[in-house]
Structure formats: C-alpha cells, structure tokens
Amino acid sequence: MNSIEVNNLTKKFGDFTAVDNVNFTVKQGEIFGFLGANGAGKSTTIRMLIGVLEPTSGDALVGGYSIMKQPEMVKRNIGYMSQKFSLYNDLTVAENIRFYAGVYGLDGKKYQERKTWVLKVANLENMENTLTSSLPGGIKQRLALGTAVIHEPKIVFLDEPTSGVDPVSRRNFWDLINDLSAGGTTVLVTTHYLDEAEFCNDIILINAGKLVAQGNSKELKTNYIKNPILEIETDRTVDSLEILEKEKWVGETSIFGNYIHVILNDDTITEKNIIKLLQEQNGINVKRVERIVPTLEDVFIHLIEKDNKQNA
C-alpha cells in the first residue's frame, strides 16, 4: 500500500522551475530517503507535500488526501520536523509538549500517555521543567521529533533533521526513526549525509528540480554505474589525479580523503595499467589499486555530473 503518491508535481517561481515534473511513490511504513544538493528542490517538494505550498501543476496523495484539494486533511494526518527545530526556546519541555498536544487536540488520558512517551524518547524524564533553550542539540532534536509525532500521524516528514548534530546524536536519532518505521509510520527524510541514506529502504535523488535516480541503495549502486571503479592510493594524491584526468580511458574522478576514485570508460583497462602510468612513467609511488563496488557517493556524483552536463 502506498502512503504517498506523487504525480507530475511541478512548482515554478516566476521563470524558475524549482520542482520539475516529479513522480514517485512511498510505501506504508518504509523509511524513504530524499536526497539532493542544497537548492535541488528537496525543501520545495516537501513543503508542497505537507500542504503549505501550493503546486503550480500536478498533484500528490498524502495518506490518501490530495494536497491540491484537501491540504487541511493532509495537515491533520502528518507530522513534520524541519532543520530549524520548531520548539519554543523560551518554554519549558513540558510547556512545549502541552502546546503541541493542545494544537492537535489531545487531552486527558491520551495527553498524559503521549507526554510520557515523548519524555521517554527524548531522554527527558524528570527534566520536564527545564527551559528548552538550555538543552543540548541532540536532545532538542529528539524532543522536536517527539512533539512532531505527538498526535501519532501515519506519515512523518523530516527535513534535514540531523544537520548540525554530532555523530553519536545522529546515530541515536536514527534509532528513533527506525522505531517509528517499525511501528508502521511512514518516514520521509531528506538528508545530505550519504551514510544516512544507507539506512533508507528506498531513495530518490533530485537535481535541479528533476528526479535523476530512484531505488534502494543496492539497486542504485548497480543500476546507475556500469563501468568499473578503481580506488587508488598514492603518495601524491593531487598530482596523480591530474595525470589520470589526461587519459582518454578515465571517465570521472573524485577524491575521498587520500584515495582517488576513477570510473573507467574502457573495460580492458586493469590495475596494471594504472601502476604502469603512475609509478613507471611518472615516478609516483602507488600504494594500492583496487577494483571496488561503488559507494552511494560515487553514484550520486556520477549522476549529478551527468545531469549537469546534459542541462548545460
């Protein structure tokens, strides 16, 4: 069953097309990763899906409700948490929970039950009278997610929820997302951390407002890059990169720390050719050359560069 169905969704701001004819579906209970660079159109798409921005054309069904025709029903049935934590810093933890519970019409026993739950997931039991402004970032983020789903929505949208938090907090936060998903909640999450994308059941990538890839992480890695990828480690990374880029059989290159990833255009090229080129002809000490399975990062850089070339 599909939680979200997006059909030909388009948003134009004057002459600029922020979201261009996008289609995708999100299944009930899955964690759906929405990837793209800053300004690619992620936030615009999400703002349309949560019913605060009207599409120029196209439509989407969110939880069965049309974002064009029933944005108010959409709002009742979703949760949303943005990169800016939407908590009131000048309210205490309990006051924030009380406020959002009030906004979603929770009271009595239900309210007590949800309040206890939010305090538990945010690790804030016995700290409910603390001012929100004095909480550390990771805790604040969990509290924000807790209050965003206080009304137990079937679908929750997270817009770059982990930007600016430390790795341990990010890990804890993803545990919480997994718990929600396990409980049947559909989670649509935007991120530009590619390690987080690995936790998603399905992923889409958009660039310049257009959908450029979709699938699970395994499919993305195998379907979009057919050519072999070599990972090379040398003494002189930058020099090696310059030498490699002059060769015809080198497609794309990128640097990962001390390593260079090279996508080859020619199947007949092997590790030996690289060693010959760098070590024998240019005197660079090659420590390691290895054929690898592409990472998501390789795939995305490849796809975005390809797409940008086409657009140009």
Partner: protein, 377 residues
C-alpha cells in the same frame, strides 16, 4: 477549535512572562508616559512670576497688588526700584511680567480721572503670554468694579453694571490640562503597547521559524491570530485600568460616564489597533522592522494627529484629512465624551463605526498579503 485557541493563548502568556524586555515595554512605558504628561507637560499657567515697579506707593497700588497675589496665578518676586532694573529682570527671565504704576495714580483716582497701568509681559511663549494677559485683565477688571462701587456708594447712588459676564467652564471647571490630556494619553499608551506587542509576537515566530510548525499543523490562521490576540486584549485592558486608576489618584479624574460603554469603546479601539499590528506582522520579516513600523504607525500619529495635544479643528484641511490614519483619533473623542462629559453612545457612535472600519480594512489587507506570500516561499 476553542481548545486550540486556548493552547495558543496559554503559550503566549507563558512566553510573555519570561520576556522581560516586552514586559518592560508593556507595563513600564505607560507609567513613564503618565508621569511625563501628567506632571512635566503642563499647559496650565499658574504662579506667574511678577515684579512691581510702584512709583505711586499708595493704598491703591498695595490693594491692587494684594488682589493679584492672593490668587495662585501670580507670585510677587520683587519690587523694582528704578526703570533700568525692569529690562534686567525680563532679560534674565527672573520674572514673566512687570507691573508699572505711574506716580500720579492715586492723585488721578481721587480726582476721578482715567489711570493707565502698564504691564510688560515676556512674549516669547505666546500661549503663556496671552494667558497672563487674560488673568491681568480679569484681575484689573474686578478691582475697577470695586473702585466704581465704592465711588458710587460715597455719592449715594446704587451701583449699576449693565452687562456682567459670568463664564462657567463645563466638564473641566478649573480648565486643568491634565483632564484634557489623560484621555489622549490613554489612547496613545493603548495603541502603542497593542500594536508593538501583537506585531512583535507574530513576527518573532516568523523570525525563529516556529511559524513553520504552526503552518503545518491543523491550526487555521484565524485560530492562530485569535489565540495570539486574546492575551494582549487582556493586557491592554489592564493597562487601561492602570491609566484610569492613576488618573484618579494623581489627577483626580473621575469617570463621568458608563463603565460598560467605556469597555465597549475600548474593545472596539483595540480591534482597530490590533488589526494594524497584525497587518504590520504580515509585511515585516524581522522583529526590528516590526518594532520600527509599529512605532512609526502608532506612536507618532497618535501623538501628533489624534487631537491628544494639538486640536484637530485648528489644523489645515489636508492635515485634518491625514488625522484619519490613526484610530487613536476616534478613541480620544470617545474617551473625552465618556470620561469628562459622561455622554452616552449618541455622542460618539460614529467614532465606533470608524474604528470598526479601520480594523476591518487592516485585517483584510493582512489576509490579502498573507495569502499572496503563501505559495511564494
């Protein structure tokens, strides 16, 4: 719906209770204004400092001077001994007026001739100078009448004054300017605190991004605005009460008219003022801009154009038309009618309609701007 509105109102009050800067603006500002306008700015001319150059030194001149200084309008500072001193006294602002009695005053009075008494008045401040002139005229007139009566009594005739003017000032018998100022002051305080507080409180949510969460929630704009407005209506009513109580204790201003009408008029005024504040919050993106806009649209016009200090009737026609930009103008009319005259609704029903129109226009504008900005972010 009611629960959601209450949730917002409660949240707003809690935030406000922790916002010392805002609390300061809301509650301290009125007190300061009251003190400044109640005490420092006083248009009443009393205790005019005079000097007397008495070249006659008779019972007549002493009696005349006693008549002046027995009222609270004149204080005798000094007697002048020669003419050159007069210039110095006026130049150095030691006195505001000098009375010069000619040396033949008593001789002329005894022989029933007309006497000319000279007054030298500091004319730099025209308002004060003309007030001094009026007091002097009145004092001299009554002393003249007294002399006439005495003269007629001596000659055995009855005194006869053909027309005796008996002015009575209604509503403000002592012509105290504070009585005239307090209603205007109350209008100014209420509009400034209402416009600033509501516009800042909405813009703060925009600035901090919390408005985004509100937009995604099932809260309608109407519920949001109403929930935000309710606490500020109560605060404004508290402020109004503070001003009225202070007006009574400090300046003896008693509410002559109906309390119910006063409340109704005040609520109508708040509707207009909060409408203006809500409109500002839709066009301003930062608290700084909102604060400036609120000041410019509420403080300045309510001070200059509401008839609070400067009477609208004496302004040029173009400026008179401009006075309609501030709802305080209409409220001041209502307040003066209720507070000073004890008038009923027939005296100001049209003002209530103007206020209603004002509020409706700005709330409609706010809705239009808000609708336009949606779909653009």
């Amino acid at each position: 719906m009611l629960n959601r509105i209450i949730a917002i109102a409660k949240k707003e009050l809690k935030q406000l209770s922790r916002d010392t800067r805002m609390l300061f603006i809301i509650f301290f500002f009125p007190v300061v204004l009251l003190i400044i306008f109640g005490y420092a700015i006083n248009f009443d001319v009393k205790h005019i400092k005079i000097a007397v150059y008495d070249r006659d030194k008779s019972d007549y001149t002493r009696e005349y001077v006693n008549g002046l200084i027995s009222s609270e309008y004149f204080d005798l500072i000094t007697y002048v001994q020669d003419e050159s001193e007069i210039k110095r006294l006026l130049d150095e602002k030691i006195v505001q007026a000098v009375v010069v009695f000619p040396n033949d005053l008593s001789r002329k009075l005894l022989s029933k001739q007309e006497v000319k008494v000279q007054y030298l008045i500091d004319g730099v401040d025209g308002t004060t100078a003309s007030a001094i002139q009026n007091y002097v005229n009145a004092a001299t007139y009554s002393y003249s009448i007294k002399l006439t009566k005495e003269y007629l009594a001596v000659t055995g005739k009855n005194s006869y004054v053909p027309i005796d003017l008996q002015p009575r000032f209604w509503f403000n018998p002592e012509l105290q300017s504070t009585k005239f100022l307090i209603p205007g002051l109350m209008g100014m305080i209420l509009i400034v605190t209402a416009v600033i507080s509501i516009s800042l409180s909405i813009v703060r949510e925009k600035e901090r991004g919390t408005i985004e969460q509100i937009n995604v929630s099932p809260l309608s704009s109407f519920e949001f605005i109403l929930g935000k407005t309710i606490p500020y209506i109560f605060i404004s009513l508290i402020n109004a009460t503070i001003v009225l109580v202070a007006g009574y204790i400090l300046f003896g201003i008693v509410i002559q008219g109906s309390l119910f009408l006063l409340l109704f008029g005040t609520l109508t005024f708040l509707f207009a003022a909060l409408g203006l504040g809500i409109f500002i919050s839709t066009v301003a993106d930062s608290q700084q801009v909102a604060f400036q806009a609120a000041n410019v649209t509420s403080l300045l016009p309510s001070f200059m154009l509401s008839g609070f200090i400067f009477p609208i009737e004496t302004m040029p026609a173009a400026i008179q038309a401009l006075t309609n930009v501030t709802p305080a103008k209409f409220y001041v009319v209502i307040l003066r009618a209720i507070l000073l005259r004890g008038a009923g609704i027939s005296a100001f029903w049209d003002q209530l309609i103007y206020l209603g129109i004002f509020g409706t226009v700005f709330i409609t504008l706010a809705i239009i701007v808000d609708k336009r900005s949606k779909g653009k972010q």
